[in-house]
């Protein structure tokens, strides 16, 4: 066996070992983070969490934050879904291969990873400041503003999946419908979007998973509220914001509550991504 051959074999073995180690490191951190969230979260979990508001501090629960999160997330997804689906439709059906279409598609990809805190400041400038000025300070921060900030983060996710999913729809479907005299808007709404439906739903679920853990954009928009409110024009608590607040608190009971909140958020996000994965895998099978 020549030394060159041996050296190449050793180098290869070493590189393969390192790549296995790198994977183990990645999986190890995943397991560590999930394990701690589960362990600390479950030990702090109790019914009071969902029945008591945060105004009681360490003796309270997180119910107003859970409700607030649901409302803000729903506002966000409710705004982002129609706009995102229509924008994705334009990219895929009307502007494919046009210059403006390519530009918007490209910028949308950039928006996917744009810093969320800047989006929070943007919404602060266009909604919180004007509403403070118009109502003489009666309405400043609001759950609605938080929802808009989250919508801006969800929007590029939905645009991109809609665009991709529509482009996967076979063009024979379009040609068949057009040759029957179906107007293009009807073709798009009733045939193409329906054909790509499960893919689009996946995108919406992924966007929901993405925004339900977002904290930074909510700090200056929804702000937070220690009391229960369902009025979207009111300051509103959200789980991530309460987690942030409680984790920075010196008290151990507050930390336990923060872990419980973290557990709830993580479970929600994981279930959503699991659901979207299931939907997508089922579609793939039916397409084949």
């Amino acid at each position: 066996m020549s030394t060159l051959y041996l050296r190449r074999r050793v180098t290869n073995g070493f590189a393969m070992l390192l790549s296995v180690l790198a994977t183990l490191v990645g999986l190890g951190f995943l397991a560590w983070i999930l394990w701690e969230t589960l362990r600390q979260g479950i030990s702090a979990l109790n019914l009071k969490l969902f029945t008591t508001i945060t105004a009681y501090g360490a003796d309270g629960g997180l119910s107003n934050a859970v409700v607030g999160s649901l409302i803000i997330d729903l506002i966000g997804i409710g705004i982002a879904t129609p706009i995102g689906v229509l924008a994705g439709t334009w990219l895929a059906e009307y502007a494919n291969r046009t210059k403006l279409g390519e530009t918007i598609r490209f910028l949308n990809d950039i928006l996917l990873s744009a810093p969320s805190i800047v989006m929070g400041l943007f919404v602060y400038t266009i909604i919180v400041l004007p509403s403070t000025a118009l109502t003489h300070g009666n309405t400043s921060f609001s759950g609605f503003a938080g929802g808009v900030a989250l919508a801006l983060i969800a929007l590029p996710v939905i645009v991109r999946t809609t665009d991709e999913m529509l482009r996967l729809v076979p063009s024979t479907l379009r040609e068949a419908a057009l040759s029957l005299g179906v107007p293009q808007w009807k073709l798009t709404v009733q045939i193409l979007i329906r054909a790509a439906r499960s893919g689009i739903i996946t995108g919406v679920l992924l966007a929901l998973a993405r925004i339900s853990g977002e904290t930074a954009p909510l700090l200056f928009t929804a702000f937070g509220n220690n009391f229960m409110t369902i009025n979207p024009m009111d300051k509103m608590a959200s789980l991530p914001q309460i987690i942030y607040q409680y984790a920075n608190d010196p008290g151990d009971e507050m930390h336990a509550l923060a872990w419980a909140g973290a557990f709830v958020v993580t479970m929600f996000v994981l279930l959503l991504s699991l659901a979207s994965r299931l939907i997508l895998s089922r579609t793939k099978v039916s397409h084949d």
Partner: protein, 339 residues
């Protein structure tokens, strides 16, 4: 339409119907185009809003803003260098750690792992990308920072720093420039620039790894098989065939991770220590642009608020440029693929 009697009127009805369809088509086209333009508007709007909000900071401090380390809310004097340095340092450390690990993961998933293991491992790594950043922050604050401060930091200060506990300065700290200062710290807690860099690295590994894995899979099989047929090892195929073929996209993936790291707020805020000071040591606390905004915007007013807006504008522009480069590099491979 069917209520119209007589055959003569039928073409008229037909025409009216098709005219109505055309009108609806036009309206629908405008509607979807308007929605797509909203995407553009949100990007431009975010830049414009932060620039507008930061105008008084920019006009008060001028170019000096970028190089000043002063941060004095009492006298209303602000400089951006500390958060800019913190942002760059943490992101750079994150890349330094995340790039080799991501490459290893991508290599394992595309070349090394047995096929039945690839999908589950890839899904698990992608799961890591789905965890909200605040969870990383909490884990970093309560679990990792104490662990770092108890086990890793003492080792680093003793082995590499110029202020070791036992007074014996190591060979590395004496002979390699800067290293001694970089790992010296009298700060007793786990929060530091290095800690934030490590947490960021864990966050961006799944992004970089999944891009790398995807582009590695675009390498034509015949290229790889030709190399294998000539007797190459798996490592040689990966390093000499796969990597050069996908180079631009790999760099794109790395920049994508960098863009994420620069703008990340929550994970960093928890473990950076939030000290508005410039320190040569990576083991000292610092501040990043995003963490400074998250910490101070709530209580800020006047010029301080404007300064934070100006910082947000800088962050937005820098991440935009980084992500622009990333997407351009990624699309280059896609073009060659003809997709």
């Amino acid at each position: 339409m069917s209520s119209q009697p007589g055959a003569v009127l039928a073409p008229l009805a037909e025409e009216r119907k098709s005219r109505r369809d055309a009108r609806h088509d036009r309206q629908f086209r405008w509607l979807v185009k308007f929605c797509a333009l909203l995407v553009l508007a949100s990007l431009l709007g975010a830049a414009a809003a932060t620039l507008w909000g930061g105008r008084s900071a920019f006009s008060t401090f001028g170019w000096h803003f970028l190089v000043s380390t002063e941060w004095d809310p009492g006298n209303d004097v602000y400089g951006a260098l500390v958060p800019i340095y913190g942002t760059i340092a943490t992101s750079f450390i994150a890349l330094l750690i995340a790039v080799p690990i991501s490459f290893g993961v991508a290599l394992y998933l595309s070349e090394v792992a047995p096929p039945w293991l690839r999908t589950p491992v890839a899904s698990a790594i992608e799961l890591l990308a789905g965890i909200p950043s605040i969870i990383y922050g909490m884990w970093g604050l309560f679990i990792f920072a104490p662990f770092f401060s108890a086990h890793i930091k003492p080792w680093l200060t003793n082995m590499l720093g110029n202020q070791p506990d036992d007074g014996k300065i190591s060979w590395v700290a004496q002979h390699v420039p800067f290293v001694g200062k970089m790992f010296a710290s009298s700060y007793p807690f786990g929060a530091s620039i290095l800690t934030a860099g490590i947490v960021l690295a864990i966050m961006i590994i799944p992004f970089i790894a999944s891009v790398m894995r995807e582009v590695f899979q675009t390498v034509p099989t015949r290229l790889k098989e030709s190399a294998y047929a000539l007797g190459s090892t798996t490592w040689e195929v990966s390093w000499d065939i796969v990597l050069p073929y996908t180079r631009s996209a790999v760099i794109g993936g790395i920049f994508l991770g960098l863009g994420r790291a620069l703008g990340e707020t929550m994970a960093v805020t928890f473990v950076l220590g939030n000290a508005m000071q410039l320190s040569a040591s990576l083991l000292d606390p610092g501040a990043s642009i995003a963490s400074t905004i998250a910490n101070q915007f709530g209580e800020a007013a006047g010029l301080q608020k404007s300064t934070l807006m100006a910082l947000a504008f800088l962050l937005f522009v820098v991440t935009f440029i980084v992500l622009l480069i990333a997407r351009l590099m990624l699309s280059r491979l896609a073009k060659r693929e003809g997709s």
